[in-house]
């Protein structure tokens, strides 16, 4: 006699533990590799040593190499990301909306932007050093240049994709010029623009490290370069972890900001589809 299988309570793929599976395996592999000394410590330090380095880095007033200096470095890095991303977002949104809504302007600007975009961001580094020297300005230039492109491209596309009928509806209901932009075009295009902003912010962190490695006094990239030259691999890994966490937090904050600005898009509307 056939017995029906008991219905599984949890759908496959919905297990909340799944996102942690790979990091856990990686950590295990790391632990085993160092435990059996498959790699020398200068290539791969022990997880416990790395954790100790992180705690020392973060604990205020801790002594030893880089003791307690996390916050000052993070503060400087965060400042650079915010300034660079701010510049890129300002220029990207402004030009993006202009090009998205004005066909003539788009034909002038977009081909040129896409030409420049095809140069990998790192290709600008030598020129940036010549123009701005090493350090602060050069970092800012690299961050804002690299994160400008996804913001611009997504904004142009989203602004141009607002349906003509929605705009007619807005005009018919009395929205003109500025009001039409703020009350119809802006919210109608917002979801796509938000994607561009998130991509831009992610790239801002990537180019932060590149810029900071050219030589600044404070910043996570500077710590990484310094630690690498001193052979302190644990500190390099610590910095990677800190950057990953910081980038994740800023991304979540940006997403939260976007949801507050346009509360429905992602969640409520999506629940119906």
């Amino acid at each position: 006699m056939l017995k029906s299988k008991p219905i599984r309570q949890r759908e496959p793929g919905k297990n909340p533990g799944l996102p942690y599976l790979l990091p856990a395996l990686l950590l295990l592999a790391w632990f085993l590799t160092t435990h059996f000394q498959l790699l020398p410590p200068y290539l791969l330090p022990k997880p416990t040593d790395t954790l100790r380095a992180l705690v020392r880095f973060a604990a205020p007033g801790a002594t030893g190499p880089y003791g307690g200096t996390l916050w000052v470095h993070l503060w400087h890095s965060l400042g650079r990301v915010c300034r660079g991303f701010g510049l890129a977002a300002g220029a990207g949104l402004l030009l993006g909306y202009l090009c998205g809504r004005r066909q003539g302007l788009n034909r002038i600007i977009s081909p040129f932007v896409h030409l420049i975009r095809s140069v990998p961001g790192i290709g600008w580094l030598p020129l940036a050093i010549v123009w701005f020297g090493v350090g602060e300005k050069n970092t800012l230039f690299l961050i804002s240049l690299a994160s400008f492109f996804p913001i611009f491209t997504n904004t142009v596309h989203s602004a141009a994709s607002v349906s003509q009928q929605i705009i007619l509806a807005g005009q018919m209901l009395g929205a003109k010029k500025t009001a039409l932009f703020t009350s119809v075009i802006l919210p109608a295009s917002f979801a796509g623009v938000a994607v561009g902003l998130r991509l831009g912010l992610g790239i801002a962190w990537a180019y932060l490290v590149l810029g900071e490695m050219t030589g600044v006094n404070y910043g996570l990239g500077a710590v990484m370069t310094d630690a690498r030259m001193l052979g302190n691999t644990a500190m390099v890994i610590v910095c990677i972890v800190v950057i990953a966490i910081a980038a994740k937090i800023t991304d979540s904050l940006l997403l939260l900001g976007c949801r507050l600005a346009a509360p429905i898009e992602q969640e409520k509307a999506g629940g119906n589809s």
Partner: protein, 269 residues
């Protein structure tokens, strides 16, 4: 109220009020992809009286929507002239509302905020806006859905919200661009009833386009039959029904008129 108007219009002795919308020898062409001029409307002349209900009936793709968009001021004619209350019709004017083929609600706003959109643009205070919107939302049968987003509503409910969003501005003219075409038969009939009810309370002129003969006979007092593209007017047919009679689609009188119009329409093919 409606039947009074109807008795007035055929009587030649009563002084005829100036038509609300008048089209004189309207022509419109588009430039096709190959660069050739594609005529869409040819020598259209018609007059629409205040508070009338007129259907523009024609085969699909005949240029009906273009004619409606000209009346809305979205487009300008190549030749001829449109008049609104005797004055040449310029660009968009606030006395005209358009109900589009799809509901075109603002999907980032709740039903309530969609309906309030026009009043907000007009600069009405919040309390006043809310009071007026609540009334119209109730009238179109969406009470209780004020806080819902368009994506949470059915197609029929979305069209109701779109209707409330326009009527709250108290337009003189409502232009409807096959707005019920995507709805199922039952929902469509409810929308027809709703339009009758609304027009009983708040008089407004309706001009709507459709390719559905039955819908034209139900909703219109006058059906303007258009030809294939380029559209010209073949004939105007008066529908001598009261609203109640219009909704009785199974009556003989209804079938007769429907047949008469269908024959006209088939001659154009």
């Amino acid at each position: 109220m409606r039947s009074d108007l109807r008795q007035n219009s055929p009587a030649p002795v009563s002084p005829k009020p100036a038509p609300l919308i008048r089209a004189e020898h309207i022509g419109k062409s588009y430039t096709a992809a190959d660069g050739n001029l594609l005529p869409v409307l040819q020598d259209i002349s018609l007059a629409i009286e205040q508070n009338a209900s007129v259907a523009l009936l024609g085969p699909s793709g005949c240029g009906k929507t273009t004619l409606l968009h000209l009346m809305a001021g979205f487009l300008q004619p190549d030749g001829g002239q449109l008049y609104y209350k005797g004055k040449p019709l310029g660009e968009l004017h606030p006395q005209t509302g358009v109900l589009f083929q799809s509901p075109t609600l603002f999907n980032w706003l709740t039903v309530e905020d969609n309906v309030a959109f026009g009043l907000k643009r007009a600069g009405l205070a919040k309390a006043e806006r809310q009071a007026r919107c609540a009334g119209f939302i109730r009238r179109v049968g969406l009470a209780g859905f004020e806080k819902a987003y368009p994506a949470q509503l059915s197609g029929g409910m979305q069209q109701r919200a779109a209707l409330a969003r326009i009527l709250v501005l108290e337009p003189e003219v409502l232009l409807l661009d096959e707005p019920f075409g995507a709805l199922d038969a039952m929902t469509r009939r409810n929308m027809h009833k709703l339009l009758f009810e609304l027009r009983k309370d708040i008089p407004f002129t309706t001009v709507f386009i459709t390719h559905d003969v039955e819908e034209a006979v139900i909703l219109a007092e006058r059906v303007v039959v258009l030809s294939q593209r380029p559209a010209r007017i073949i004939k105007e047919v008066t529908v001598p029904f009261t609203p109640e009679e219009s909704l009785d689609v199974d009556s003989h009188a209804f079938a007769d008129i429907k047949k008469q119009i269908r024959t006209l329409l088939e001659q154009t093919e």
